[in-house]
């Protein structure tokens, strides 16, 4: 009756255990299953209580010896143990901007469900805080943004927990998985804050916090494993573990089993089918419109999702590095994955060479006898100051020579992080294609020209016909409204306009009736109006209802999107009152902040309420998923 096969991938058992289980389970009768489930629950419960059940050695031995059906079923002496119930609860909360934390939270949830846990999985802003009192196990997965800020959907929970209303949580066991990027000063700060605060509130740390860098896969999997192990050994067995496992397994088989899932570590090689500079002649900017073929990948994505690109480093920079180090480009190294590459290939395709972080600099300590460098390592403020805007070549030039060898590279450098770009197309409008909008970043720092790793790779070295490593990073926190009729307001200056092209193409394909209003801005009208003719066509066809643009360098007084929002305050507020969703995409530091301020002002004035009430209004929108941001 349980036809489904337990596998290493859909269950917590080892290969050897599975052989036994898969042999046994199909032979069981309904009555036997019932009996066994009750027995196991009792058995685990008793075992963790430290009590001994007489049948234990027999049962264990029986299973281990693959001779036990008769033996196990022979123990008919525990008919009532199925009634023994214990708390098997887990609350998993995530705070996620790009969807990584959310995805990992989902993985933990699946794992714990498979282990028979009653799992509550929720975004932090969707979680009713009074539920905390009932929670027994709390798992927090959260990323950190910009200057140590929580992601949008973590803000309200973060503030609640750090505020006066935060409850005592002595009953709670918890663990935190923090996501971040070591190249930022406040690496994993939000996760660290949660970890510390939960401890302050009296909760007990079940598993130590794990801080993940952009290459989080390994560390995160380790944490999930540790949490699952700890819970299994610390809590009672489920009453009906098999059903739970079966459910989990069923869920797994429902997933598109045919399609390979492409990830950072296993990206798809997509062919470049078009690469256009969207900026007209005379512009001081260069924005690539990149069209990639997904043919044969089975990759699907939704508007609002991002595409990760695993870039290659600038070969010239790699050559300079190798020369400075005095290495031979052809020298071979073995990566952690076991691939054998030349050092030139490894530095070009595998490792990050353009960012210095405190962590990285500290890893260089064993390779240096330079007094000044050691001095620098002792002063973390100076260290951060030094790391800012410099790269590996600077380090070698400033504090070299270092004694490290090509074989050390694997342990010292971190893997080159993928760059995420908001997808600029709808797969419905462009089957088997994905479009991106990438602005070339080039600037000078500490006397050297610096190139944005991925943007310059895409703009200068990728040509039509080339292949590029990509994977889809879903972003559940930046999605069109469920209903096609819901009005949408989109604020996307610069490359922030990318997901809105995807939104509008999707709505066009769906023949959606909802109104739409786009706010776009850049520097110059003539050269920097990204996707101008696409918008003009959509306006003309009635797909896009309204379009406001702001070009900051065309007038004496700089005009930005927030000014256009303010100019249309009454109408914009009316749209919100009609139920419109508002989306912001683009630069976080200035734009998103200024736009938020403008929205506050609009709500405040239009409702004629206090600043606090206006903020509460926007918070409610945010909690209801009607104010979404994809900012970077």
């Amino acid at each position: 009756m349980y036809s489904l096969q337990l596998l290493v991938t859909n269950s917590p058992f080892s290969e050897e255990q599975l052989q036994h289980l898969n042999a046994l389970l199909p032979t069981l009768t309904e009555a036997q299953i019932h009996w066994l489930s009750g027995y196991l629950a009792f058995y685990r419960n008793e075992n963790t209580q430290g009590a001994t059940l007489q049948a234990l050695p027999v049962a264990e031995q029986a299973i281990g010896a693959n001779s036990g059906i008769a033996t196990v079923s022979g123990i008919a002496a525990v008919p009532n143990v199925a009634a023994v119930q214990v708390p098997k609860e887990a609350t998993i909360l995530f705070g996620s901007q790009t969807g990584n934390a959310q995805r990992l939270a989902g993985r933990l949830a699946d794992r714990l469900k498979a282990d028979g846990f009653d799992v509550t999985l929720s975004a932090m802003n969707k979680f009713k805080t009074n539920e905390l009192k009932k929670a027994v196990h709390l798992f927090v997965l959260v990323s950190t943004h910009g200057e140590g800020d929580p992601p949008d959907n973590a803000i309200s929970f973060y503030e609640f927990l750090h505020g006066k209303r935060a409850p005592e949580l002595k009953h709670l066991k918890y663990s935190v998985l923090a996501l971040g990027d070591t190249s930022y000063e406040f690496f994993c700060k939000t996760g660290q804050d949660f970890d510390q605060r939960l401890e302050e509130l009296g909760a007990e740390r079940l598993v130590g916090r794990v801080d993940c860098d952009v290459d989080y896969e390994e560390a995160a999997s380790g944490w999930i494993q540790a949490v699952a192990d700890k819970l299994s050994s610390a809590s009672a067995a489920a009453a009906q573990p098999l059903q739970a496992a079966a459910a989990a397994a069923a869920a797994t088989t429902e997933a598109p089993s045919a399609a390979v899932v492409y990830t950072r570590n296993k990206p798809f090689q997509a062919e470049v089918i078009e690469s256009i500079n969207l900026n007209g002649r005379g512009s001081d900017r260069e924005t690539r419109h990149l069209e990639l073929s997904l043919e044969g990948s089975g990759i699907a994505y939704e508007p609002g999702d991002a595409l990760g690109i695993v870039p290659h480093n600038d070969p010239q920079l790699v050559a300079e590095l190798i020369e400075t180090l005095g290495w031979k480009a052809s020298e071979q190294v073995t990566t952690k994955e076991g691939d054998v590459l030349t050092i030139e290939e490894a530095l070009t395709t595998q490792y990050e060479i353009t960012v210095l972080s405190k962590t990285l600099l500290e890893k260089f300590a064993p390779f240096s006898k330079n007094e000044q460098f050691n001095q620098l390592l002792t002063d973390s403020a100076k260290l951060r100051e030094y790391a800012k805007g410099r790269d590996l070549l600077d380090l070698l030039n400033d504090y070299g020579p270092f004694t490290w060898q090509p074989s050390d590279v694997v342990n010292v450098l971190r893997k080159i992080p993928a760059r995420l770009y908001s997808i600029a197309s709808s797969i419905k409008a462009h089957p088997d294609e994905v479009h991106l909008t990438i602005r070339k970043v080039q600037y000078e720092s500490h006397g050297r020209e610096r190139n944005g790793v991925c943007s310059v790779y895409v703009s200068e070295r990728l040509e039509v016909g080339d292949k590029v490593s990509v994977f889809v990073q879903s972003n559940p926190n930046f999605k069109l409204p469920a209903s096609d009729e819901t009005p949408i307001i989109m604020v996307g200056p610069g490359t922030g306009v990318a997901p809105f092209r995807a939104f509008m193409e999707e709505r066009e394909e769906a023949g959606a009736s909802g109104k739409s209003w786009l706010f776009f801005g850049d520097r110059h009208y003539v050269t920097d109006f990204l996707y101008q003719t696409d918008w003009q066509r959509m306006l003309n066809d009635g797909v896009l209802t309204k379009l406001e643009v702001a070009f900051s360098r065309d007038t004496e007084q700089k005009v930005y999107v927030q000014h256009r929002l303010l100019e249309h305050a009454a109408e914009l507020y009316a749209w919100l009152e009609e139920g419109a969703h508002i989306y912001i995409c683009g630069d976080e530091k200035h734009m998103a902040h200024d736009v938020h301020k403008a929205l506050l002002q609009i709500v405040k004035e239009q409702r004629n309420v206090s600043e606090e009430a206006a903020a509460a209004y926007l918070n409610e929108l945010q909690d209801a998923g009607r104010y979404q941001r994809d900012v970077y």
Partner: protein, 579 residues
């Protein structure tokens, strides 16, 4: 005089432009609203047509069209602004304003047109209002610089007849003013409603409360007026719809011979369209000038072809109904008869370069402006130099009909200073140039003009570089030969009046015309069709060689090619197309 023939206007279904004019509510359309549309830097076709009446054309950088389309950008829309400058005269203050606007809102250059107007190029839609306001603030206007109305009235800048200039210039201003549209639309759209003083007394009972002369439909087509002062025919009086030829006795203007029905434009391959020369119909005293002009305009208003735009110019109206009919109709409307024409003679249509002394002891100097483009180049800082001159000049500037600039009324005391500035900025007064280059004229064409089929302004200098060594070889370097090039057959550089002319057919290809009169008294005729540079040179060299050997004393190139049998003389526009 015989009794008047009964003539009905041509009729026919009005063209879409006519409908547009009617619907525009005296040139308003949806211009005001569309100027605020930030999603496009352009205007709809309809609004663009209306915009012409306001002195501006929408254009785009045609060099970038394909590239921008791929970049998902609309064409690089920009606007040309033409400034009405009667007689081409501007004060130093006005010059500085135009110069500043060109730099601030335009493409950093000024174009001197073949009708003595300033042209700014590259103005973005959102800067149009500011620019037009700036122009009006300096007491110039763009109203009626283009469109189906009477355009900027031309007059000879008179380097050698400074006293007469004052008088003809007065009439060019009066004519421009008298025939300006009265619609308040211009002021509403560009000047926030403020209206400049423009007293006007119509010579007939106003039929239309807003536009007493034009009515709400305006003219069927553009209407051009110019005043020539013999012996110079620099304004090409025969190319004007209505021309005035000054009759001067003892340094005093006594009146004008009047010409009607000239015009340059035609369409390739359509022999129903042709360039035509104006015909002299009689003499008037100066006090009759405005009245006569108004009546001529109203005849064209009532009888012009409103159905087929390419046959709508005044020249076709006259050719259709005959000159006699026109004279009668005019006499009916005036209530008096023109006097018989007086004697006159033209010698040339080119400019006289360099310094000349005025009757009152002041000086003037005519500068050579390559293709009418005022810009700084490596060889010559023309734009900067003229700006520096404008800052100190106690005289005026005059744009010539040959796209040059004359600095007039320079006090004797300032002559040396101005000369020094000219030298400092390496500005040419034409002395070192070949006779061909001194008499060369070209329209703007690519990349901004939407009508252009081939290059003109950007290419003519290159072609001249190749023709000059040939002329030099045959000892003709200083021979005055007028050469004209346009990118299309609409005639902005009056190509049908070039001794050698090139009218663009497609990129790099031109129809070549020969045989116009040096003084603008005879049209040319097509000699070769659709030829490129190599063939142009191969064709011209033997004719030039022949001219060098066999020309009679004082014989112009245009006359020689007819005498030598290269081409038949075009005696009237109606035989322009016959071989």
């Amino acid at each position: 005089m015989t009794s008047k023939k009964k003539v009905e206007p041509i009729g026919g279904k009005p063209s879409d432009v006519e409908d547009l004019k009617v619907a525009s509510n005296y040139l308003r359309g949806s211009l005001a609203e569309q100027l605020h549309n930030r999603v496009t830097g352009g205007l709809s076709e309809l609004d663009n047509r209306l915009l012409k009446f306001h002195g501006s054309y929408m254009q785009d950088d045609r060099d970038l069209r394909k590239e921008r389309e791929k970049q998902k950008l609309e064409p690089a829309f920009q606007f040309m602004l033409r400034v009405v400058t009667p007689g081409g005269v501007a004060t130093p203050e006005q010059w500085l304003v135009i110069d500043e606007l060109a730099q601030k809102y335009g493409n950093g250059t000024i174009r001197v047109t073949t009708r003595q107007a300033f042209q700014l190029h590259g103005v973005l839609k959102w800067n149009l209002k500011q620019t037009i306001k700036g122009i009006n603030d300096t007491l110039l206007t763009t109203l009626a610089a283009c469109g189906d109305v009477s355009r900027n009235v031309m007059c000879n800048p008179n380097p050698l007849q400074s006293k007469v200039h004052e008088e003809v210039y007065h009439w060019s201003k009066e004519l421009t003013k008298h025939l300006a549209p009265r619609t308040p639309a211009y002021h509403e759209i560009w000047l926030d409603g403020e209206k400049l003083e423009n007293p006007y007394k119509p010579y007939s009972e106003p039929a239309d409360p807003v536009e007493p002369i034009y009515g709400h439909v305006y003219l069927p087509r553009k209407f051009k007026i110019g005043i020539a002062v013999p012996p110079s025919n620099d304004i090409d009086v025969y190319s004007q719809d209505l021309g005035f030829i000054a009759v001067v006795e003892k340094d005093q203007l006594v009146g004008f011979n009047v010409t009607v029905g000239g015009g340059m434009g035609m369409t390739h391959g359509d022999t129903n369209t042709y360039p035509q020369l104006g015909k002299v119909i009689g003499f008037i005293t100066p006090d009759k000038t405005l009245e006569l002009a108004e009546k001529v305009v109203t005849i064209q208003r009532d009888y012009g072809n409103r159905s087929v735009r390419k046959n709508a110019r005044f020249k076709y109206t006259i050719d259709r109904h005959g000159l006699d009919w026109f004279k009668e109709e005019l006499q009916d409307r005036l209530g008096w008869e023109l006097a018989p024409a007086r004697e006159f003679a033209f010698e040339s249509s080119g400019d006289r370069y360099g310094w000349a002394k005025n009757y009152d002891g002041t000086w003037n100097v005519t500068l050579f402006v390559r293709s009418g483009r005022i810009a700084d180049t490596e060889q010559e800082q023309l734009m900067t130099g003229l700006r520096e001159i404008a800052k100190v000049l106690k005289g005026d500037f005059r744009l010539t009909a040959n796209q040059n600039v004359m600095i007039g009324n320079i006090p004797a005391k300032q002559k040396a200073a101005i000369n020094k500035l000219l030298k400092k900025y390496n500005i040419s007064i034409g002395e070192e140039l070949s006779g061909l280059r001194r008499n060369a004229l070209s329209c703007v064409a690519l990349p901004t003009c939407g009508l252009a089929m081939a290059e003109a302004e950007r290419y003519l200098p290159t072609l001249l570089d190749k023709l000059e060594p040939i002329l030099e070889k045959y000892g003709l370097r200083d021979s005055e030969i007028n050469v004209r090039m346009t990118g299309c057959p609409n005639g902005c550089a009056r190509p049908a009046l070039g001794e050698i002319s090139f009218i663009g057919k497609s990129p790099g290809k031109y129809n070549m015309y020969l045989g116009a009169g040096f003084a603008g008294e005879r049209l040319n005729k097509m000699y070769k069709e659709n030829i490129g540079e190599e063939e142009i040179i191969a064709t011209l060299e033997p004719i030039i060689e022949h001219y060098a050997k066999d020309r009679k004393k004082g014989e112009h190139f245009g006359d020689f090619v007819i005498r030598a049998g290269y081409i038949k003389a075009t005696t009237d526009g109606t035989n322009f197309h016959s071989a």
